[in-house]
Amino acid sequence: MIGSLILTLAFASSIIAAIMYFMNYRGYNNALYYGRLAYHFMAMFVLVAAAMLEYLLLTHQYSFKYVYEYSSNELPTGILMASFWGGQEGSFMLWLVLTTIVGLVLQSYSSRRGDLEPRVMSVFGLATTFILLMVSPLFKNPFVYLWTEPIFIGIKNINPSLLHLPLVQNFLFSDGSSGQRFVKMNSDLYSTLTAAGITLKEFVMNGKGLNPQLTNFWMQIHPPILFSGFSMSTVPFCFAVAAMMKNDYKDWVKQAFPWLLAACGILGLGIMLGGYWAYEMLGWGGYWAWDPVENSSLIPWLVGIAAVHTMLVQKKSQSKGESIGKFAMTNLILCMMMYVLVIYSTFLTRSGVLGDASVHSFVDPGTMVYLFLIIFVGTFLLVGFGMLAYRWKYLTLHAKSEEGILSRELALFTASVVLCASAAIVLVGTSAPIFGHSVDASFYNSMHIPIAIIIGLLNGLSLLIKWRTTKANDLLKKSLFSVSASFILTVLIILFGGISDILVMILTLTTSFALIVNLEIAIKIIRGNKKMLGAYIAHIGIALFLLGVLSSSIYSRENTIDLIKDEPKTVLGYKMLFTGYHPIENQSKYAFNIKLSRNNKEYEVNPVMYISDFNNGLMREPAILSMATKDIYVSPLGYDDGSTNKTEGKQISLDLGGSADFSGSKITYNSFIAPDMSVMQNGGDFQMGAKLNIEKDGKAYSVDALMKKEGRSVIFVPVELNDANIKIQLVKIDPSTQKADITFSEINSTAAPSEPKEVLTISASTKPFINLVWTGILIMVFGFALSVTRRLKESFT
């Protein structure tokens, strides 16, 4: 309970910090000291609590529910540390820790910029208070003990020497349908064990472990980076509210700008890493599925990017002496919406409303959490827009909005509008499941083609036109080179790529235009003032990214093929040869060897398949052959060792007592032929199977479909029943559920029994220039980093 106590202390400190900072803003000078003190105490408590959770995981303290649910003894240290954010409670902790750290930096940043600190930090304190409330014992606390709520623990995780104790017997359960055995862990069992002098650490020996899809490198870096982006987007919200508190809209632009840029850069990196993770691990061949969880981090990012563009205009117009500058209200709204949408995305993905719609979404956490998240979103909407209403009159009175049509201001504003439109599309599609609807990917894709066209056009055009107004003649003269060069590039791409869709042609043209204009200007700048480079580099990154998205999706070719062992097949221009498989990672997974060759060059790829202990499911991992111009993506679908001749028959799965029909025969699964359990558990030879009753033309036969284990090998014994013209072979049988998978085939249809052939079924696809997708984003993030350093220097008043 120490962990919960520390979190409660942090919660109290956070409230005190927010109140003290607010008092200081209202004129109580001594309150500043207490506000700082309380914030630092809060930060210390949060960091200690996080260190405790990490310690519990590393030392396998399964008496804590979170440790039991998301880790196990088998996890390697790096993954074990990452299991910190494997579940809901822990990912809120991660968000909390990162927000706290961002707050420490923000406190030091704001204390050195005039009277900024009390206003910014009082709003920031409100944010930390809410997240702390989320991890408090009321909602998603990670320090809950294992027994506080009844939980069923599989007996394989229980110390076997304690399982036979009489006092445990009352708590043993078995699942009627699967026959699996569990211990019901609750407070009664805990007190029974304690009375007998047995600690929970001795009793529960292992945890449930982490979902195998999470046990990889990306789990260690993607969530921390994404949540850093989420945490940093708190800051522009605080600056916006702080500006309205003082009713001064001049300094906040300069002061918030580096934070906004950094938040967008890091959030963008986080989103891309998530996409790369999906591409490399999930095996469906893409990096973006418009899944609600992916979307919900994209929406705040798009709004943040929109804010970057209009804030630039406000900053520029301020420097020309127009007191508050252009688009002040737009910027306040966008900066606030970015954080509100971060919380809204938390609501979407954590409240269970997307239950049926997403692969990632967490299981229903209960009405309390649902309501709390609504209050969280509601509070920040109310604070932000309440302040805006309060200053509405002043803001509308001082707004300036005269522009020339050909001005950079208007181009930037249009860019921001287009980005908001994109955010609105994603928001509508992602929120649809709340109302019982859903949209498929085509909704997002067809809406985004025109948006991408406009983005490409503006991306280039806005750099060619000047601030305020540009003469049309100047523009024509300046753009002559880039327009003609991009036309040539587009024609080349269309001819070599064979593009036929008119929208795609236009998109290619505008994207090439953006790329060339930005390159042209970047080259000029490299010779001159280097600190201006950031924006151009970021835009080059975006243009490359869009080209990569186009080429890797439109020109992707896909084939599903059966590769027979040692028989080469030509697929997508490559000769592919399946040569067998070998166990990897302590025999827990199997890597399949496929040799590829083309033009005397040889490659090898190794897609992986295995049965996971975690969920008893077949897991597949793709293999990617990465080349300069394209990726060859090989995703395994299935493997047949040939012993069952599956392709020639029909596979039927039967439960005990179940029956099925096959070519005029009625087959009934009469009884389970049980193995000798003690021999089986000691690894000795045994046999088990299904006793079947087969009826055909009024006659009944009894047949045993058996599997035998002899030494290291397993044999499924085929049975032929000539009278019924049927061949039966067991494929798999599960002794705990007694469910049997059996193939049936007609004897005379397989007149010439063929040699058993090992067949690997794969889906192979090419992804031309997919590297541009990753490098484009990385270049963009690099551009953001350059801009942040430049804008940081400008942020002092």
Partner: protein
């Protein structure tokens, strides 16, 4: 060239209307409704997301030649339908608590283009490793 206030709002408003109209049109075009009543699923020829659970007693069939996977699904009222999926059996299918299939009801069965399985976290299966891996 300077735009006057009135024209600007008119122009902006027009763009927003066109955008919203386009979005609403595409939304209705690609909109898929969730349906948990199979009687309704069977009576309409529209693509829906049918939610229900797998009928374990009726088991499932794998046709590896045509790469088809079929099983029976039931809704909360007990209405059953046969589901045919063009693909391999999804991960976790057997332990799924509930199933969401996307597709439409045609020729007496539900032709699914996508299967989403929701798994209970409470129970976990145990099996003999040899039996499973030999069938990989």
């Amino acid at each position: 060239m300077v735009i006057n206030m009135k024209n600007k709002y008119l122009f902006g408003g027009l763009i927003i209307i066109v955008f919203l109209g386009f979005m609403a049109y595409l939304f209705t075009q690609s909109n898929i409704k969730y349906e948990n009543d199979f009687e309704k699923v069977k009576s309409q020829d529209k693509i829906v997301k049918a939610t229900g659970s797998w009928v374990k007693e009726k088991s499932y069939e794998i046709d590896s030649k045509n790469r088809l996977f079929s099983f029976y699904m039931t809704d909360a009222q007990g209405h059953e339908m046969k589901v045919v999926f063009n693909g391999t059996m999804p991960n976790n299918f057997e332990s799924a608590k509930s199933v969401v299939v996307t597709g439409e009801f045609k020729d007496g069965c539900f032709q699914a283009s996508n299967i989403l399985t929701k798994c209970p976290s409470k129970y976990e299966g145990q099996n003999i490793q040899e039996v499973k891996t030999s069938n990989l």
